[in-house]
């Protein structure tokens, strides 16, 4: 993929080589009309000798990314995504949902102590963990779907690291000013003014981190109660520890690590870039249109000699991960498209068509490099691969909805006691004992009738009902939202042989929900 000789490749060239070629062959010094002076020192300039000529230096400090403010449709969309995602994250725990007197009134609640997961009208029990597994599978396939259709949209817009980094970068901008001011301040000596500014900024960082961690714990307990307890110092230690850890990680990852997380720590870029194909959208610099680069002045003088790129480095200055998209597709590119906004504005200023940097597929790149007209990126949405992912994703979703719709709020499990398998009573009758687990998934206590089918003459009693009250059926009350274990003693008259029979429970309410379990009655002589 590299071009060791520094020579141009032939006509049928690999697209990635094209980019490198384009940069390699333009060796004129830069003089940009728009570029800011700091930019040239911060970024590697392809025309100059390699910026890292030191193989003896094994480690290098992080180069801070001071991305410039930008306006444009993608930036607006990014604001919108930030608003929605952070809004959902911070507001959700406060939404109430009336579930009656026996269940919590929080719309979304992960109740670890009672092992329940509440999500609006849905209540998940531990034995229904397949719903969570289904959600995870849907999330996985959803990622395939989105990646195959619109590339690394997750990285660029929805990833928490991206959202929070964006937020922190905005805090930088509000407190320290835009790019140039921030670079100046970074280089300035530590005066009291700088100490105060940094202290103030890091305090804001810490507050954001605190709110982030604070919102997280509200998902695990009743939000208003926990909120009050937290500040009264009465919350559980685990709450304080969680908030402390999340505050620390939020500030570290969003405030200081930033693009280092995307480039060095996160596995997703590797996975997502591997999931792309030549029909997936990526952010791309159209070097066949932009190269060779030249300043506005030069380009005006000799328009036929230069491409559209005036080497203003705006695309580099606005990038939140500090990469140069003109070097070709790379793992550091999160496809947030801020460079598109920046470049489009420059193109408008110098009177060129937009889209020198644009969302395009590798296929489109090849076509356009060979002279074809640009095609609409929306076209990439509908193709067999995306449709297949969508069908799989949708059918899992429908299957889960169906399962949620038909699931019973009553459940019975039966385990026969095998030690001893049967018991001879003094009158010659035979008794077996069973452990029944009656599950009531409604938020109110319910009476359930236990009956026996297929065992003539059988009577039973449970550990709570007196043996003198032995009868063919028993009614037990199962508390709201709980599983009740009942030890049931079933007694049959002398002469009954080992045989299969069925326990049935029926809820004694208007629903009349029922569940039956087949089991075996053991008798002497047959076991």
């Amino acid at each position: 993929m590299s071009n060791p000789d520094g020579q141009k490749s032939g006509g049928d060239r690999d697209w990635s080589v094209v980019v490198e070629d384009g940069i390699a062959k333009s060796n004129e010094p830069v003089s940009s009309a728009v570029a800011e002076p700091a930019a040239t020192t911060r970024r590697h300039e392809p025309h100059e000798p390699p910026r890292q000529p030191l193989p003896e230096k094994l480690y290098k400090p992080r180069e801070p990314v001071h991305n410039k403010r930008v306006r444009g449709p993608f930036r607006t969309f990014k604001w919108l995504v930030m608003l929605v995602t952070l809004g959902i994250y911070y507001v959700t725990p406060w939404i109430r949902w009336d579930r009656g007197p026996y269940a919590p009134d929080q719309a979304v609640l992960v109740d670890m102590a009672n092992r329940r997961f509440y999500m609006f009208g849905i209540e998940i029990w531990p034995h229904e963990f397949y719903f969570v597994a289904g959600l995870l599978i849907m999330a996985g396939i959803g990622l395939f779907l989105v990646t195959s259709a619109v590339g690394r949209a997750w990285c660029g817009y929805a990833c928490p690291q991206t959202v929070w980094t964006d937020l922190f970068q905005h805090v930088d901008r509000l407190i320290d000013g835009d790019r140039n001011a921030r670079i100046r301040l970074d280089r300035a000596p530590w005066t009291w003014g700088k100490v105060f500014r940094r202290g103030f900024k890091w305090t804001i960082y810490a507050l954001i981190g605190l709110v982030t961690g604070g919102a997280w714990i509200l998902y695990f307990a009743d939000a208003p109660t926990l909120f009050r307890d937290f500040f009264a110092g009465e919350a559980a230690p685990v709450a304080y520890i969680t908030v402390a850890v999340l505050t620390l990680t939020t500030v570290t990852l969003g405030g200081f690590m930033r693009e280092q997380v995307c480039i060095y720590m996160c596995p997703w870029p590797r996975i997502q870039t591997a999931m792309l194909d030549e029909k997936s959208l990526i952010v791309t610099y159209k070097d066949w249109r932009g190269e060779p680069r030249g300043s506005v002045k030069k380009a005006k003088k000799e328009p036929e000699k230069f491409g559209d790129c005036i080497d203003c480095t705006q695309c580099v200055q606005v990038c939140p991960t500090g990469i140069d998209i003109r070097e070709g597709p790379q793992v550091g590119c999160i496809t947030c498209a801020l460079c598109i906004d920046a470049c489009d504005k420059v193109m408008a200023d110098i009177g060129r068509p937009r889209g020198l940097i644009d969302y395009a597929t590798l296929e489109d790149c090849e076509r356009e490099a060979n002279g074809a007209e640009p095609r609409s990126p929306w076209r990439t949405l509908l193709r067999p691969r995306t449709i297949a992912y969508f069908l799989i994703w949708g059918s899992i979703g429908l299957a889960m909805l169906f399962a949620l719709g038909v699931r019973s709020h009553t459940d019975l499990t039966v385990s026969p006691d095998r030690n001893p398998p049967f018991m001879l009573m003094s009158d010659g009758s035979v008794r077996n004992s069973f452990t029944l687990k009656l599950r009531n998934m409604e938020s109110r206590p319910r009476d359930m009738e236990i009956s026996i089918e297929g065992l003539p003459g059988a009577v039973m009693w449970s550990d709570t009902i007196n043996r003198r009250d032995a009868a063919a059926t028993q009614v037990v009350t199962v508390p709201a939202d709980q599983t009740r274990a009942v030890r049931a003693y079933v007694m049959v008259p002398e002469g009954t042989e080992t045989r299969d029979f069925t326990f049935r429970i029926t809820s004694q309410d208007e629903q009349g929900e029922t569940d039956a379990v087949k089991t075996r009655f053991s008798a002497p002589g047959d076991s």
């Binding site: 940069i23 193989p55 290098k60 006691d417 030690n419 018991m423 001879l424 010659g428 043996r467």
Partner: protein
């Protein structure tokens, strides 16, 4: 580096040297590591050193170094056990206070007693009565699941048996009874008729006048005229389906001629009263436990008996 001398090549766009490895045309760049990564690595080393000082780490001849914090897994276990015991104190106190007659009224406490009794049973009782409390007919250990009780099956009677044992020397309150050996007392006709009569009491086989006569002369005093047994004396009921030592003619004959009688250790002094109470509750809960039948003198208690 691996890429020195005349072969040294530089990747044009990034200006980074190649390492010199190539896989299917993809080459590795000699990119320097981020400095924070190195610092993180140093921090893990510092953490490891601190950990080795703070916690047991280095194996010595006798045992590992102790660590300045003095933590040990054994000490942790002891703490956990203490904490668990502390958590049970309130239940044990409530159990110590409540008379065993009232225990069934407090269903929550009863459940805790049964659970505690089950644990104590596994430690102290399974050696004879078996893990399922089914006993052993071969060895004469009673089955505790059924409803046949030699000395009574209500909570009080069970607790009494646990406290004083059965045929325990040195305890004048122990349950004691003696079935006399009838070796040489009957001729073979009488013996045969007696066994038939005993079997007929529970509906097996035919009784004869000789058998009935022999029974009423020798056995009815303790076992009752129809074999209903006598709990005061611990005389087994003979007219039911349950046989402690077997229902074959040979087993019955052997038991008449040379009776074997079991022994149950007294648990007073070996187990605390609360544990004994819990054991009684557990045994009672096995499915054959009886209600208090006789009317108590206390009129309030009488009300409690009829839920």
């Amino acid at each position: 580096m691996a890429n020195e001398g005349p072969n040294k090549r530089v990747d044009q766009p990034t200006g980074t040297e190649f390492v010199g490895h190539e896989w299917d045309g993809i080459e590795e760049l000699d990119t320097p590591m981020p400095r924070w990564w190195v610092w993180t690595f140093y921090l893990t080393i510092i953490f490891a050193l601190g950990y080795m000082i703070a916690y047991p780490a280095w194996p010595m001849f006798e045992k590992a170094t102790e660590g300045v914090l003095g933590w040990s897994s054994r000490g942790q276990l002891a703490e956990d056990i203490d904490a668990a015991d502390q958590a049970r104190v309130s239940v044990r106190e409530a159990l110590a206070r409540i008379p065993i007659e009232r225990l069934p009224d407090d269903s929550a406490l009863m459940q805790q007693a049964v659970a505690g009794g089950a644990a104590a049973f596994r430690v102290n009782c399974v050696q004879c009565h078996g893990s399922g409390a089914a006993g052993s007919q071969e060895l004469g250990y009673p089955n505790l699941n059924d409803d046949d009780w030699l000395w009574g099956g209500d909570l009080r009677a069970i607790e009494y048996t646990l406290v004083h044992g059965i045929r325990q020397a040195g305890d004048d309150q122990t349950r004691a009874s003696q079935m006399p050996p009838f070796e040489g007392a009957f001729d073979s006709n009488q013996m045969d008729a007696l066994v038939s009569h005993v079997l007929s009491l529970s509906g097996k086989g035919q009784s004869t006048p000789l058998g009935a006569q022999t029974f009423s002369d020798n056995c009815a005093a303790c076992h009752g005229s129809s074999g209903e047994g006598n709990r005061e004396l611990g005389a087994p009921r003979l007219n039911d389906a349950i046989w402690l030592r077997g229902s074959s003619r040979e087993a019955i004959t052997r038991q008449i001629l040379n009776p074997r009688m079991g022994m149950m250790p007294k648990w007073e002094g070996r187990l605390d009263p609360v544990t004994i109470k819990m054991l009684a509750a557990y045994v009672h809960s096995l499915g054959g436990g009886e209600d208090f039948l006789e009317v108590a003198e206390d009129p309030e208690a009488e009300v409690d008996e009829q839920p």
